[in-house]
Symmetry: C2
Subunit: 104 residues, 2 copies
DNA sequence: ACCATCCGTTAGTTGACGCTTACGTAAGCA
DNA sequence: TGCTTACGTAAGCGTCAACTAACGGATGGT
């Protein structure tokens, strides 16, 4: 979840996500939309994939990418719950333990 | 909007936001919840304030912080619209012509 | 077999970020 | 006026993130 939040914090990655939200696109076509080099986009795609926000499918030499609606929906719901605090104290307690570990 | 997204990408700042979501708290009390030094929290509060996610009120030597529900709601709605793409359709349509050329 | 195409990966660099220490500032009180 | 409290700010440091250039692997065509 943390990975997904960090992923969408990057403007370029949000743009990529929007590109593959409704349709599948090969990496090259995605890269063509931007002014940066192709490897840069490839790295962004990797971040998105490891965050579960995008899935990869191979077709010959090409790699097709598409947004994963379920993970995207999961993230959206997390943010909803964050503001309205429907998750409440259970999550607070759960995160408290992780914090104790990380900060020790 | 970009500033708000970057702000909530940081776990510590999400924690701070949740602390001041329902009630006002002085900077010192906020800092007391964390293992890092007080200046570190002060810098996080600055980021949150400049992102419009938090408002500051002075009371003597103290500075009281509280989440700004309107900005928070604005952010939540942006994310909703991002997934459902109520924002993007106009631009998507505008870009469709270019895509057709580039990807053919 | 050879070569071009389509990509990912690996250094290596630069800039941003989170943190700490040290210092500055404004308000309240003796 | 001096001292204390409650903060923010500045400088410096280590680390991470985004980028480019160069290289490597897999596929498909000839």
């Amino acid at each position: 979840m943390d990975a997904a939040l960090r992923a969408i914090a990057e403007p370029r990655r949000r743009e990529i996500l929007r590109l593959v939200r409704t349709r599948e696109l090969p990496a090259g076509a995605i890269a063509a939309h931007f002014a940066v080099t192709r490897p840069a986009i490839s790295q962004h795609l990797r971040v998105l994939r490891e965050a579960g926000l995008v899935e990869e499918r191979r077709d010959g030499t090409r790699r097709l990418y598409r947004a994963r609606p379920d993970t995207v929906e999961e993230l959206r719901r997390f943010l909803d719950d964050f503001w309205t605090d429907r998750l409440g104290r259970l999550r607070d307690a759960a995160e408290a333990k992780e914090r104790d570990k990380e900060e020790r």
